[in-house]
C-alpha cells in the first residue's frame, strides 16, 4: 500500500525516465535470461529432481539397466494413463475445481468399452472368435470415450449448474461410477478382448514410443498450447483465480466449467481405453488411487491447488516423478515397504525444494 499507483499528473510515457530512480520500475532493466526465468518455476525444480533420480537409479541399478531403451519405453507406457488423468485434472484445478472421480471414470469407461467390444464376439468368452476385429475395437474406443465424456458432463452439470462443491460432487460420482462399473461387469473383470487390441494398440510402439504414451504426449502438446496461447486457457485460469471477477468480466463461467469436466472426462475415457488395450481386460480394483496420483502429479508440477495457475509441463514432470521412483526402486531391488516410504520422502523433498525456491523468489523481489 505504500507505493503509488498513480503518480505524475502530467501525461507522459508510462516508462520511468532516467531521472526517475524508482526501484520498482524494472522495465528499463535487461530482462532476466530465459534460463534464469525457467529455473524459477516449479516445473524446473521437478525436472531437475527427475533428472537427478534418473542419474541415481542409473548408477545403482545392476548393469545400469535403468538407463536403457526398454526401461524408457516401460516408463512411458506406465505413465501414459496417469499423465492423461493428471493433465485433465490440471485444467480443472486451474479453474478452481477438483475431481476425485477420475479413476472411477476410467474404470467405468473401460468396462463400457469392453462390454461393447464383447458384442462382436462369435462365441461368448472366446477371445479368438471375433467376427470383425477392426469394427469391434473402433466401437470399443468410441464407447470408452463416450462413457468418459458423459461421466464428465454429469460432473460438470452437478458442479456448475447445481452449484455443488466439486469435492463433494465427485466424491458422490466416484461411488456411483464405481458401483455402475461393478454392476455392468457383474462384479468380475471383463476379459477376452481380441488379441489384436493389445498387439496393435496397447503394446504397440511407433518409432520406438508406446502408442498409449503417444496419446498422452499429444494431449500434453495440445493443452500446453491452449494454456500458453489461447483465450480458453486464460479464461480458465481467470475463473480459478477469482470466479466472481471472471463472472463480472462477462465470462460464461458455468459453460467453461462444464467444458472442462467434459474434457477431463473424455481424457479419462481415453485412459480407460488404453487400460483395456494394455491389459486385454478391465481392472475394476486397480484404479482406486488414480485420482489422487493425478492430483499429486499436477500439484508437484506447480499447478496451484487453490486454482488460477496451470503448469502443463510441470504436470508431465510430476507424473514422470512417480513412475521413475516406482521403477527405479523396483529395479534397485528395494522392498515394496521401503518403496512407499521413499516415495513419500521424495514427494516431501519436491515440495520443500520449491519452498526454498519460492523464498528466494520473494527475497529477490524485495517485497
Amino acid at each position: 500500500m505504500s507505493s503509488d499507483a498513480v503518480a505524475s499528473p502530467a501525461p507522459g510515457p508510462n516508462r520511468a525516465g532516467p531521472e526517475d530512480d524508482d526501484p520498482r520500475d524494472d522495465r528499463a532493466l535487461e530482462p532476466p535470461s530465459r534460463l534464469a526465468m525457467w529455473l524459477k518455476t516449479r516445473a524446473a525444480w521437478v525436472f531437475v529432481l527427475d533428472a537427478g533420480l534418473v542419474a541415481l537409479f542409473t548408477a545403482v541399478t545392476p548393469n545400469h539397466v535403468f538407463w536403457s531403451t526398454a526401461n524408457a519405453q516401460a516408463l512411458l507406457l506406465a505413465m501414459s494413463e496417469t499423465l492423461l488423468l493428471a493433465l485433465g485434472l490440471s485444467m480443472l484445478l486451474g479453474a478452481g475445481i477438483f475431481d476425485l472421480s477420475l479413476g472411477a471414470n476410467l474404470v467405468l469407461s473401460a468396462v463400457v468399452g469392453a462390454t461393447a467390444v464383447e458384442q462382436f464376439q462369435g462365441v461368448h468368452g472366446d477371445a479368438s472368435s471375433y467376427q470383425n476385429v477392426v469394427l469391434a475395437v473402433l466401437v470399443g474406443a468410441l464407447a470408452c470415450v463416450a462413457s468418459g465424456v458423459l461421466f464428465g458432463l454429469v460432473n460438470g452439470l452437478v458442479i456448475a449448474v447445481g452449484d455443488v462443491n466439486s469435492l463433494i460432487a465427485t466424491l458422490a460420482t466416484l461411488g456411483i461410477g464405481t458401483g455402475m462399473a461393478e454392476l455392468i461387469a457383474n462384479g468380475s473383470d471383463v476379459a477376452g478382448m481380441p488379441v489384436s487390441l493389445q498387439t496393435n494398440i496397447g503394446l504397440r510402439r511407433v518409432v520406438g514410443i508406446p502408442v498409449p504414451a503417444l496419446a498422452g504426449l499429444a494431449a500434453l502438446v495440445v493443452l500446453w498450447a491452449v494454456v500458453r496461447w489461447c483465450r480458453y486457457g486464460l479464461r480458465v485460469q481467470a475463473i480459478g483465480s477469482s470466479r466472481s471477477a471472471a463472472e463480472r468480466a462477462g465470462i460464461r463461467v458455468r459453460l467453461h466449467l462444464v467444458s472442462l469436466t467434459i474434457l477431463a472426462g473424455g481424457m479419462a475415457g481415453v485412459a480407460g481405453f488404453i487400460d483395456l488395450s494394455r491389459f486385454g481386460a478391465t481392472s475394476l480394483s486397480g484404479h482406486s488411487n488414480d485420482a489422487l496420483n493425478a492430483v499429486t502429479a499436477a500439484v508437484i508440477g506447480g499447478t496451484l491447488l487453490e486454482g488460477g495457475s496451470i503448469s502443463i509441463i510441470g504436470t508431465l514432470w510430476g507424473a514422470a516423478l512417480a513412475v521413475i521412483l516406482q521403477s527405479g526402486l523396483v529395479l534397485s531391488g528395494v522392498s515394496s515397504f521401503w518403496q512407499l516410504i521413499v516415495t513419500g520422502f521424495v514427494l516431501l523433498l519436491a515440495v520443500l525444494l520449491d519452498r526454498v525456491a519460492m523464498a528466494r523468489r520473494a527475497h529477490g523481489h524485495g517485497k
Partner: protein, 260 residues
C-alpha cells in the same frame, strides 16, 4: 479511445422507480438516479440504504422487481452482466474484481481478449503483443505508472490494483462507469489522484456514478448528489449546494419527513 457515443443522449445510465426485495428485506423501494453523459453523480446513503443493490441492478448483476433501468435514454432489460457490458457500461467494483494470479495486461483484457487474425482466430489464439501495447497506452493516458504489466496483479500494492481496475473500466466503457467506493482502500494522496481520474473520465463524455462514504472528497467532484434512504431516493441536488452536515442529516433520514 474517444468514448463520445453517449454524449448525444440526456441520460447515460439511470434508474426509474426501481424496487427490489430479498425475502423479507425491501432493499430498494423507489430508487431513481440519473447520470447524464459527462457528469459525475455521487450516490450516497447510510449502510443498508440500497446503494449496492442499485449498482448491481444497473450493471445487470441482478434484475429489479419493478421500475426500469435506462441506458442512453432507452429503457433496457439487463439479463446478465454481459448485457450491461455490451451497452458500454463498466464498473470499478469495491473488491476491484481482479484475478490475482493473472497479469495486469490479462486482467485489463479479461472478457475482451484480442485474438490473432487468420486461421489462428478460430482456435482463439491471443494477440498478446497487441494487448500489451493497448494496455500500456490506456494506462499512460491516465498517467498511471506500474512497475511492470506482466507481473501478476497480486504482486501489486493496493493503490496500484485500484489504478488497474479504474484503467480497465475506462478502457472498455463507452457509456458509463459505475464506481463502488473507489477510494475506500486508498491513502490521502492516492484518493486525490482517483478523484481527479473521475473528473478526467467524465470530461471524456462518460456518465460516472460514484458510490462513496468519503463525503468531503466526493462533494468536490460530484455534479449531482443522489441520496438513498431505506431504498428510496430522498434527495437529488447539485453537489455545490450541499454541505457535509446537510448530507449526513439526509442520509440518516432527518430530511425524509419520517421519524428515525
Amino acid at each position: 479511445m474517444a468514448p463520445t457515443s453517449a454524449s448525444a443522449a440526456t441520460v447515460a445510465i439511470g434508474s426509474r422507480h426501481v424496487s427490489k426485495r430479498f425475502g423479507h428485506v425491501q432493499a430498494l423501494r423507489d430508487a431513481t438516479v440519473t447520470v447524464p453523459p459527462g457528469k459525475v453523480v455521487a450516490l450516497v446513503g447510510d449502510n443498508g440504504a440500497g446503494k449496492s443493490t442499485l449498482l448491481r441492478a444497473l450493471l445487470g448483476l441482478s434484475q429489479p422487481d419493478s421500475g426500469e433501468i435506462v441506458i442512453r435514454d432507452k429503457s433496457v432489460t439487463l439479463h446478465s452482466v454481459r448485457d450491461g457490458l455490451a451497452q458500454g457500461v463498466d464498473a470499478v467494483h469495491q473488491d476491484l474484481a481482479l484475478a490475482p494470479h493473472l497479469s495486469v495486461v490479462d486482467n485489463m483484457f479479461l472478457g475482451h481478449e484480442h485474438l490473432r487474425g487468420g486461421g489462428l482466430q478460430h482456435v482463439g489464439v491471443l494477440a498478446r503483443r497487441e494487448m500489451a501495447e493497448r494496455a500500456d497506452a490506456a494506462l499512460r493516458e491516465l498517467s498511471i505508472q506500474l512497475p511492470s504489466l506482466s507481473v501478476p496483479v497480486r504482486a501489486l500494492s493496493g493503490g496500484q490494483r485500484q489504478a488497474v481496475a479504474v484503467a480497465r473500466a475506462v478502457m472498455w466503457s463507452r457509456t458509463a462507469i459505475l464506481m463502488d467506493e473507489p477510494t475506500a482502500a486508498l491513502g490521502t494522496r492516492q484518493s486525490e489522484i482517483v478523484i481527479s481520474l473521475i473528473r478526467t473520465v467524465a470530461e471524456r463524455g462518460l456518465g460516472v456514478l460514484v458510490v462513496s462514504h468519503d463525503l468531503p472528497r466526493i462533494l468536490t467532484v460530484a455534479d449531482t448528489v443522489t441520496v438513498l434512504w431505506r431504498g428510496e431516493t430522498v434527495l437529488e441536488a447539485p453537489g455545490r449546494d450541499l454541505t457535509v452536515p446537510d448530507l449526513v442529516a439526509t442520509m440518516v433520514g432527518y430530511r425524509a419527513g419520517e421519524a428515525v
